[in-house]
Symmetry: C3
Subunit: 359 residues, 3 copies
């Protein structure tokens, strides 16, 4: 459930601030919270986008609902219906404002229990939480928030207005652009997985590159993004990464690409701009994916993709007994193909025989 606004907002205020046209006369009903149609109670503002939500709309207890003209009839008469062109986008705009009103405010300043090197450069209005460690040579630009328990290594550069949630680790030499958000537990700049096999033993290849992250990048919780071996690992402007994602050394990701949770990307893979990688997908190393590629959840990309499009490769789910039969037959698939060929040859000779016998 979302937090309540410090002081309520009337529907008339809401329209004055964000636009829309009221159906009916409930201008003075007060709005305190945002909620979904199904869970809304008195005091809540909700939204209706899409005819498939008509049933929830019909029974909603929301005080006010943002809605398009053609769906307004789906709402009970008691609801203050605010009619707009694009209800979802309109509601998202309200939600961003609401978030700034209800989120805990961060006070700029360095917590006395933080450990900040004298050789670090801290910009104006930066906030640094308890038990954070900021090492020599690090620079944090103005307005950024470094949560409790964060670690910012040597010579790390963090742009303006970034938010590192509590317990983020950014290791030596890595850099973030402006307005980045990194969620708790994420590690940026761990060593790439580089070992050379020497007679059955693995010898470590030092990982000398770093990680460079563009502007407006958001990275979820408990991700790991490795530093490059020689060159740097690169994440372009506007990329959005979900939770528990693995980015190996020297990976390069183009601008505005979105990656869902649990994805693993192997070393030196290059991913284009505006791609969307589904949850749990894997991308092998040393390959290239062009711009505007969509990969389905849990699919494995084993070769370069040179053509924009939607790619999939995942075994369909079945009741287990059916799966066992399908899996067993799958092993025989090349043999079945050969048996089809044999039948085709036999059929061809039968046809010939019949043709002959008719002669």
């Amino acid at each position: 459930m979302s937090r309540s606004l410090p002081t309520s907002l009337s529907v008339a205020d809401l329209i004055a601030r964000f636009g829309g046209v009221l159906r009916g006369a409930q201008t003075e009903v007060p709005i305190l919270r945002l909620a979904s149609l199904a869970s809304a109670r008195a005091g809540d503002l909700s939204f209706l986008s899409g005819a498939r939500h008509r049933p929830q709309a019909a029974s909603t207890r929301a005080t006010a609902v943002i809605v398009s003209k053609d769906l307004a009839d789906a709402l009970p008469a008691a609801v203050a219906a605010v009619i707009v062109d694009d209800p979802y986008a309109h509601f998202a705009r309200i939600a961003r404002w609401y978030d700034t009103q209800t989120r805990s405010q961060v006070t700029p300043g360095i917590d006395p229990a933080a450990r900040v090197s004298d050789l670090a450069e801290i910009g104006a209005n930066v906030s640094i939480g308890a038990f954070a460690t900021i090492e020599a040579g690090a620079s944090i630009a103005q307005g950024s928030v470094i949560g409790a328990h964060c670690h910012v290594g040597r010579d790390v550069r963090i742009g303006a207005a970034c938010v590192l949630h509590p317990r983020v680790t950014i290791l030596d030499d890595c850099a973030l652009g402006a307005r980045c958000v990194v969620h708790s537990g994420t590690v940026i700049g761990s060593d790439g997985f580089g070992f050379a096999n020497d007679n059955g033993r693995w010898e470590k290849i030092p990982q000398l590159g770093s990680v460079l992250i563009g502007d407006d990048v958001e990275i979820g919780a408990n991700c790991s993004i490795d530093r490059g071996a020689l060159d740097d690992t690169l994440i372009g402007d506007g990329c959005k990464l979900d939770n528990l994602i693995q980015i190996a050394h020297n990976v390069r990701i183009g601008e505005h690409t979105a990656i869902a949770g649990c994805v693993g990307i192997a070393g030196s893979a290059v991913i284009g701009r505006r791609c969307m990688i589904g949850g749990g997908a894997g991308i092998l190393g040393h390959l290239e994916i062009c711009d505007d590629v969509v990969v389905s959840a849990m699919s494995l990309v084993t070769r370069s993709i040179g053509k924009p499009g939607f790619y999939s490769g995942v075994f369909p789910l079945m009741p287990n007994a059916g799966w066992e039969r399908a899996a067993a037959t799958l092993r025989q698939l090349p043999v079945l193909r050969d048996r089809i060929r044999a039948l085709e040859r036999a059929q061809a000779s039968t046809d010939q025989e019949q043709f002959k016998s008719k002669e």
Copy 2:
């Protein structure tokens, strides 16, 4: 290897406390530790459940073994055999007692190096470890243990007798019921992955919900459980989650469902009660799984499941050369199906011809 008891327990003590009948006369042999049959040494108590463990039983060096009547003959005569009805359940009961005797004891109290807000509410006998941060409005009920390096955000509510292992992060507004256990590295309440695409750029949708977790829930290490977008992410009483699990925003999980490691569950998925989700499985968003569903390891659930049962979908493992052939044929599968149809049509016409020619 398990720790030794502070003072040894004789087999007679063991029977007096937990029940069972001794075969033979070794009542005074001392028990110090618990161990498996294969690794047990003098002083160890083990158990035998199932005939397939007869070989390990025959050569065990355990001092005493919990065993059912019909398998007691599998043990060397020198072993003190304690005969019970259900050896595994009996041993588990002993193990729980043993654990309380050997585990490091936690002293209630707030470590002087913890940072606890004056506006937090700390119950009786709560223990808070070094460098933990507890923010304003948080409440921690009696008997709970908050490990070192934990972060408990604003207005978080933690029920009685919970254990947060070292380095757990629970972000603003989330709530745990009573007797929950959360393992190290887990993040509860990170932002859901909510972005709207605006002409190729992603605009953040604020995540205003929270995470509500029931009673008796255990969550493994390095998981991430996102807060809801508007409504809350919900995890029911008695759920057990393994390590490295991703739970997206607005997911709802029914009571007593167990989820193995590395599972990813996408936004707004609803999972029933008493389900079991195998390791590495994926569940897409906006679908519903009914009660009592079992999903195989590494299977992807792409549609709602309305019938209890066991579901699978994973490519069978093969020697690589066989897999390459099977994978190549798989791509031709629709063509092979068409070729079978063509053969069937040809066969039908051959049969007709032959029928005619016999006329």
Copy 3:
């Protein structure tokens, strides 16, 4: 981009120290950094190994390049070509030295903001970072580095010359050998996922074992390695684990096995020596994999493997429309097999008819 050396090295120095033969006379050009052929600038040393990198070699701006005799002609005449037998191994040797010269130096000593128990045993030249917690009974052998925010639990033993990067958690009773490296966010010794189902509710089985890790093991970021239920979880000498890996209770991994990112290994699995497990692969519990097995990325091992070799099982990636057709046909695969059999029987009887009709 790699860091610069504190003082530059001439090509002549480089050859004096590491060997090789200079083509031409550029003995005095100074080397400051290491870089790949494509990103190298003046002052950089690079390497060329393999004819497929000829195009990058031809346009490189590196000052010097390590190269084999037969590929030296691929380099511009202005480049100082240092000719050696095995360029990659030679460069790796230089990189290891370079790393020691440019990496931030760690000063031995205990940070005043660390919390170290009086009952812990700290060896000579150990370094312990800010906000680290070292509990009673723990021992850390000489020369090891414990990063900021690390937690070393009760009775944990850490061998000589180990490096725990910032924010590693090692829980009670676990042990690491000598020269281990553990990256940030990793948890060693969390409870195994052990619950017994008691009439639809899960009862916890205490996890009494620990985790024992050999010498020269490296473990990536945000992994979780569970303690054993009774016996210990074992990771052999020289194993290398990438990021976000899940190792369940009682798993045993043989020496020098390498495991790529996002792999999940279920309880009591036994993995041989010198195996290589591809990224995102899964290994079910209670099975055995012999030495020298290679498993492809994202494959699931469902049975024991008794023969060394390369094993795969992953659905091939396709354009989505093709995948939908292939997946639909896959469900009908057992039926298609039966239809082939029916055709074969019909064909056999047609042949017989034709044979008869020729009689």
